[in-house]
């Protein structure tokens, strides 16, 4: 055991001195098994650890125990995925960039989960509040005409949303408007992020086409709301 560790240490020192591997060397070492693979994994681990602070910055206190646990979890998960998906690496980037990409996705997924776990997805519930209450809103910057045209445009767009989108699409749209990450919204809606993107793409296309059919462009609708906004 001791001898094996010594051997490994020497191997690591050698690799450190050799600075870095080519893509082919990474692949060969990670596929090799034994000490060769262990050494490559150890090096890769150190590389990923250097990248993760950029994912955590501004999202979690880097010195918190929560952050330490997250880093450890993400590194483990990344190394596992790297081995699992090694055959899909096509060599179109540096191998380490590819590995960082996997780590960043894993880290941000976890950070989003932590950040949003307490926030319920906006529900489509009946609202007892008044009919066109937005009509009554005083907006010192908008003229009465602008307020009326905005209220009417709201109503019109809302009707289009009701008629064109499915419940799930409306729910996803609301979540997006509330700032929910796609990944989190997807999980709550029982699908994956990729599927939700497709669902939302379909929703956007439907709305856009319907607006066109009604002789409206998104820019025209925007202009109604931009006039005195800023």
């Amino acid at each position: 055991m001791l001898r094996k560790n010594l051997h490994l240490s020497l191997f690591l020192a050698y690799n450190f001195a050799m600075n870095k591997r080519t893509n082919e060397e990474w692949l060969a070492d990670l596929r090799a098994g034994g000490d060769q693979q262990a050494g490559a994994l150890e090096d890769l681990r150190a590389i990923i650890l250097r990248g993760l602070p950029y994912a955590i910055a501004g999202r979690l206190n880097p010195n918190s125990p929560e952050s330490e646990a997250l880093v450890e979890e993400v590194v483990q998960e990344t190394l596992m995925r790297v081995l699992e998906y090694l055959d899909t690496f096509e060599g179109r980037s540096q191998f380490t960039t590819w590995a960082h990409k996997i780590a960043v996705r894993a880290a941000l997924t976890e950070l989003r989960r932590v950040r949003w776990r307490e926030v319920p997805l906006p529900e489509m519930e009946m609202n007892e509040e008044g009919d066109a209450s937005y009509r009554e809103l005083p907006d010192s910057q908008a003229s009465p005409e602008e307020q009326v045209s905005r209220a009417e445009m709201m109503k019109r767009v809302n009707r289009i949303i009701m008629e064109e989108l499915t419940d799930k699409q409306r729910q996803a749209l609301m979540a997006t408007m509330e700032g929910f990450p796609l990944e989190e919204a997807a999980q709550r809606l029982g699908m994956n992020r990729n599927a939700l993107y497709k669902l939302m793409h379909d929703a956007r296309l439907r709305l856009k086409k319907r607006l066109e059919k009604e002789g409206l462009t998104p820019q025209e609708v925007l202009s109604v709301f931009e006039q005195s906004g800023k």
Binding site: I47, R50, G51, Y54, A55, R92, S93, Q94, T96, T97, W98, H100, K101, V104, R105, A107, L108, R112, M124, E125, M126, N127, E129, D131, A132, S133, Y134, L137, P138, A142, R150, M154, K155, V157, N158, R159, I161, M162, R170, L173, M174, M177, P181, L182, R193, N194, Y197, K198, H201, R204, L205, L207, T217, P218, Q219, V221, L222, F225, E226, G229
Partner: protein
Amino acid sequence: MKFNQLLQRLFGAKQKKEMKADNSEKMQKVMAMLANTQEVELTCDEVFAVLDQFVEMAARGEDVSQLMPLIQQHLDMCEDCREEYKVLEKIVMNAA
């Protein structure tokens, strides 16, 4: 659910005085999304598959929005992917 009730949910805010800004803001957000919507768009998985390559090209100063417009369009559209792109970009820029 009536249209106006959905509207309340979609564009309504908790407090009336906030509502106007909030309504406008959300409406603008939806319309900006629609304005940028294309018939054919890449999905998150398709973008993830080439994100490392895309980031390295950008880091080398290549005109990625010209070379890979579909990736750029997805990044403009998808906050999650854009966030991941930005972090990866920082790593690549600082590790190089």
